[in-house]
């Protein structure tokens, strides 16, 4: 539902005749590739300072925030064109996400072992949590009362109470947890050091079950229609589709080159960054057909201007 609302918001905010673009964050090149959203052809490359990774769309849909972790800088882009409007010093913004109510911006600092909570309206730092080690991905409870971050270096998931700005709990959830997603009252955690997604109780972080997907389970994305979950398996080079209701595997697609982030195009295709191959794969989930287009080094986050989306 949130994804659909976000999509509607984007369509409403889009100026008439806005180009259909894909913005790819090249973490190893210090640049953003702006692609034609239909053909995948690279239209231009926008230089940034050092090492960008992920993005978050502002709650009003008017700004696309890109974190340059190596450059300690937050970039504010026009979400329709990819043009950089302004920059702001921010310490190690690796992964970022707005709480569903739009009040907070949560930023993980993978290299600096910290999770920062910013007031989204003012961009003032409200609270910094030391988080050993390697905090990477973020999820929220739908009521915005809790934020969750995976700690890759210590195999843990940490929960923060956003109402009181304090840590609620920390729990071991497997081996090198990366992607995390709130789904139907549970947390799904992709354990990159294993071949499964852990199902975690959001109350206390207890692992209640596993779903085997593939080696190097990295990130989880809910399809715009809410029917499927896609899990990228970094080591196996596959993308596994799970039934969103039963969590049972439906189909596995071969996506070589270290599949990472996914965006959903309006034609139903999945745009998947291939970190090791320096490409973006465009996968037709109906037929399994796959084609790739070249981008910069180590492409990470991807954003389509006219699509419903999950995470950056």
């Amino acid at each position: 539902m949130r994804a659909l609302l976000t999509a509607l918001l984007i369509f409403a905010a889009a100026p008439a005749g806005a180009a259909n673009l894909a913005i790819v964050i090249n973490s190893g090149d210090a640049s953003l590739s702006v692609l034609d959203g239909t053909t995948g052809a690279e239209l231009r490359r926008v230089p940034v300072l050092r090492e960008p990774h992920h993005f978050a769309l502002s709650p009003d849909g008017k700004e696309l925030l890109v974190g340059d972790a190596g450059g300690n800088e937050m970039l504010f882009l026009d979400p329709q064109t990819g043009e950089i409007r302004r920059r702001m010093p921010v310490a190690d913004p690796y992964q970022l996400g707005f709480s569903p109510n739009g009040k907070w911006l949560v930023v993980t600092g993978l290299a600096r072992n910290q999770v920062d909570i910013y007031d989204a309206a003012t961009m003032q730092l409200a609270k910094r949590f030391p988080a050993k080690s390697m905090p990477s991905h973020i999820a929220f409870s739908p009521d915005s009362s809790m934020a969750y971050a995976t700690l890759q270096g210590t195999n843990a998931l940490v929960a923060y109470d956003l109402n009181h700005l304090q840590q609620a709990w920390m729990a071991q959830v497997g081996n090198t947890p990366a992607g995390v997603l709130w789904h139907n009252g549970q947390l799904l955690v992709a354990d990159m050091g294993t071949d499964y997604v852990a199902i975690v109780d959001p109350v206390d972080g207890r692992v209640v079950n596993h779903i085997v997907t593939g080696r190097g389970a990295h990130q989880i994305f809910l399809s715009p229609d809410g029917k499927l979950l896609y899990v990228n398996n970094r080591v196996d080079g596959t993308t596994t589709a799970l039934d969103a209701r039963t969590l049972s595997p439906v189909r596995t697609y071969r996506v070589p080159g270290g599949p990472d982030c996914i965006e959903f195009a309006p034609d139903g295709k999945l745009w998947i960054t291939q970190r090791f191959a320096q490409k973006v794969a465009i996968l037709d989930p109906a037929s399994g057909a796959l084609r790739s287009v070249p981008v910069g080094r180590s492409p990470h986050g991807i954003y389509l201007t006219d699509a419903a989306r999950s995470h950056g």
């Binding site: 190893g28 090492e51 190596g70 300690n72 921010v90 081996n175 050091g193 180590s298």
Partner: protein, 323 residues
């Protein structure tokens, strides 16, 4: 078009590094494994390029002929240890972590970390220009590090391992005491941090500088001509620095890549022609010992010259006057 190094690094990452990290429980390092892979590829290519350029030069116009080249083999070992993998991996990981931590701390305190692109915004996106600007600044820093290593007795004790080689070839550039290498690395990294070199450029700059430094050590009768010698350091120019008369604390031609700093600070000597190399005051182990023997002898000499141990009469007698 994807450059071949990136392609090779991607392949290495996907098919070698990531499976190893997965099998050994080290997947938390996968994010920076691309940097590792890239610099391993650069390092291997650099050794290959150095070999392809310098070996024919040394065969074509050698300065010296030796009955055997046993003493060169230990320099080959130094090169492989230093360039293919280990040095780039360590430098990248350390540099990345320190830079992000330091700059993040500075950002927290409202100060934007310095980078050339911030001082000169027009440079943003012009990677080649900034790369060469960074290289010039680092070369300047290298001049002073090298000059100081000849100035302080204890440091010269370590650095003299580099100068003890009487069969100097392009392999000799990496022939350094490990403590001298560590000091050099910290020096280099500090300067790189101060001027805000991107982590992905840092090992690349190390490799570029080292490639040219290898050439300057070649056992080749090669000069760049009257003007060229003043633009780029040639084997002839650098051989003067390694000449037996220049060994020690009163040397010349300290520059690594550019002779400009020697010219600016009055240490350039363009007049010496293809001197024999080596350090007559060094104990034999520094010249022809094994890797370990050289390392031990380097520490021994450092301690002696620093005054930490009594100087044996035998060794004292062999030390050159003025040092």
């Amino acid at each position: 078009m994807i450059d071949p190094f990136s392609l090779a690094a991607g392949w290495l990452q996907e098919h070698v590094l990531i499976p190893i990290l997965y099998a050994t429980g080290g997947m938390e390092w996968e994010e920076i494994s691309f940097g590792w892979a890239l610099f391993a590829c650069y390092g291997a290519a650099q050794v290959a390029v150095t070999f392809a350029i310098c070996l024919p030069l040394e065969r074509w116009r050698p300065v010296e002929h030796w009955p055997d080249s046993k003493a060169v083999w230990v320099d080959v070992l130094y090169t492989i240890l230093s360039r293919v993998g280990i040095l780039p991996l360590v430098t990248f990981v350390l540099f990345y972590q320190i830079q992000v931590t330091l700059n993040g701390w500075l950002s927290d305190h409202g100060w934007v970390p310095p980078t050339l692109e911030r001082v000169f915004p027009a440079l943003l996106g012009h990677y080649l220009i900034t790369f060469f600007l960074y290289a010039i600044i680092l070369d300047f820093a290298e001049y002073w590090r090298h000059r100081l290593s000849h100035t302080f007795g204890w440091w010269w004790g370590l650095h003299s391992l580099h100068h003890a080689q009487r069969q100097m070839t392009f392999w000799s550039d990496d022939r350094n005491h490990i403590l001298d290498d560590i000091i050099g690395f910290v020096w280099f990294m500090t300067v790189a941090l101060l001027i805000g070199i991107p982590p992905l450029q840092f090992p690349l700059l190390v490799l570029l500088l080292r490639l040219l430094e290898s050439l300057s050590h070649a056992n080749a009768r090669l000069s760049f001509g009257r003007i060229g010698e003043r633009l780029l350091i040639s084997p002839r120019f650098h051989r003067a620095h390694h000449g037996i008369l220049a060994a020690g604390q009163r040397s010349c031609n300290y520059g690594a890549i550019l002779p400009w700093w020697d010219m600016l600070f009055g240490t350039a000597d363009f007049g010496r022609d293809y001197a024999r190399t080596g350090d007559p005051s060094a104990e034999e182990a520094l010249a022809t010992g094994s890797y370990l023997q050289q390392q031990v002898a380097g520490v021994r000499r450092m301690a002696r010259l620093a005054g930490w141990t009594a100087t044996p009469a035998r060794v004292r007698a062999r030390r050159s006057p003025g040092r």
